[in-house]
Amino acid sequence: MKNPMRWLPLALLFAACAAPAQQKLVHEERSLYREVLVYEGDGERCMCFTRQCRIGRQSCINLNDPKHFALNYTRMALGGILFTGEKKPQRVLIVGLGGGTIPTALREILPDAQIDVAEIDPAVTRVAKEYFGFRTDPKLEVFEMDGRVYVKRSIREGKKYDAILLDAFDQEYIPEHLLTQEFLEEVKSLLAPGGVLIGNTFSSSKLYDHESTTYAAVYKTFFNLKTANRVIVARPAGLPTEKELRDRALQYELVLRGYGVDIYDVLPLFTTRVDWDTKARVLTDQFSPSNLLNR
């Protein structure tokens, strides 16, 4: 009973899976560190560091509604910045620019706040400005510097931040000196009293356990927000209660809706449940094989 056609539906299915929505390369440039690529397709424009966005997308905007947050982690990160500090953030530091969707939104949501961004790669900043509507002004500045160098320098200058977002990783490469106990201690000392640290990190691979114990070594407990991505939210002064979180989130309910963020999607993600191997070795400046563990 040979019927070649019976495989056809399966073949079609495979074809559909193998070829993702048609992506068009609209810009590429080679920087000191990587290729910065801009792809368009499916009504979205994305910044990627690998061909065909093979290993993740750095930043995406919806072409019809550029304000709308296209990537999931940005919602969690924004929630962390806005909902968890002891007071409304006045000074925010973001390590790693990407397309700049988060600083751009923060600049609008917190018009009085000073927002500093540390981005090592000038090409990323250039592309963010040209393709992702990112704009700098005196209240939103980009410092072309390694994140750790920026943090060290800021400590020396006596700066303090109410919220610090670490967003410098991608699936392909982790700057290992930005994922160590010593670095997290430095970041902690850069936080203003009641300030909050938000880390956009990984939800899978062996690195998950090591990263968790490293954060735990510095911050004891933290919120562990997980979807396909993982966002860690830590507050050295002690985490807010569920009620405090909800009250704060409600203040932003309407404005966040404009970015396609539903606070009732984000709030349930704030959990402190420990779901990692607490015996995993802590990452330090002496031991930081993050890229080897992230596979």
Binding site: I120, D146, K152, P175, T180, Q286, F287
Partner: protein
Amino acid sequence: MRNAICLSVAFWSGFFVMGVELLGSRYLAPAFGSSIFVWGALITVFMLALSLGYLAGGRWSQYRPSLPRLGLLLAAAALTALPILPLSGAMLDELFFRIPDPRFGSLTAATLLFFVPTFFSGMVSPYCVRLLVQAKESSGKSAGLLYFVSTFGSAAGTILTSFYLVKWFRIDVILEGMIAVSIILAATAALVGGRSR
């Protein structure tokens, strides 16, 4: 036997140089980050130190060359790498604040920490050539063998350090281990060379 020792020393010296260079990027990263400037500074210092080391090693080989003296070079490289262990923390932070430009900050740091041990490592290769060469006709062959062995050692040092050692050990422990191997090998060269003289 003498040749085997000589080649082992050259292999290990190549391994040591690249191992230290990779660890060097780890030592520098907390203070200077991992921008392309830091790698540039590090590689510049290693290349410069090696080039001057080759020159000096060649010169010194004209003066009563011996296996124990080759061991001495290896030991010198290892012992001058020792200060990296205590200095890499506080000193780098201090340098970072003194020299705000990441290029010259990391260049200065890399010079202070890595120049001297790498210079002695560079002296090993030409010195080895002198010990290996029997006749003018075969000098190219001997030099070729030596380049092969020492560069192969560098390849081994690179891949082992970056793929495996950093996953198993703290970087201080890796450096201590490499220094220990150098000392053992240097002592072996001194003993064997001393006996067969």
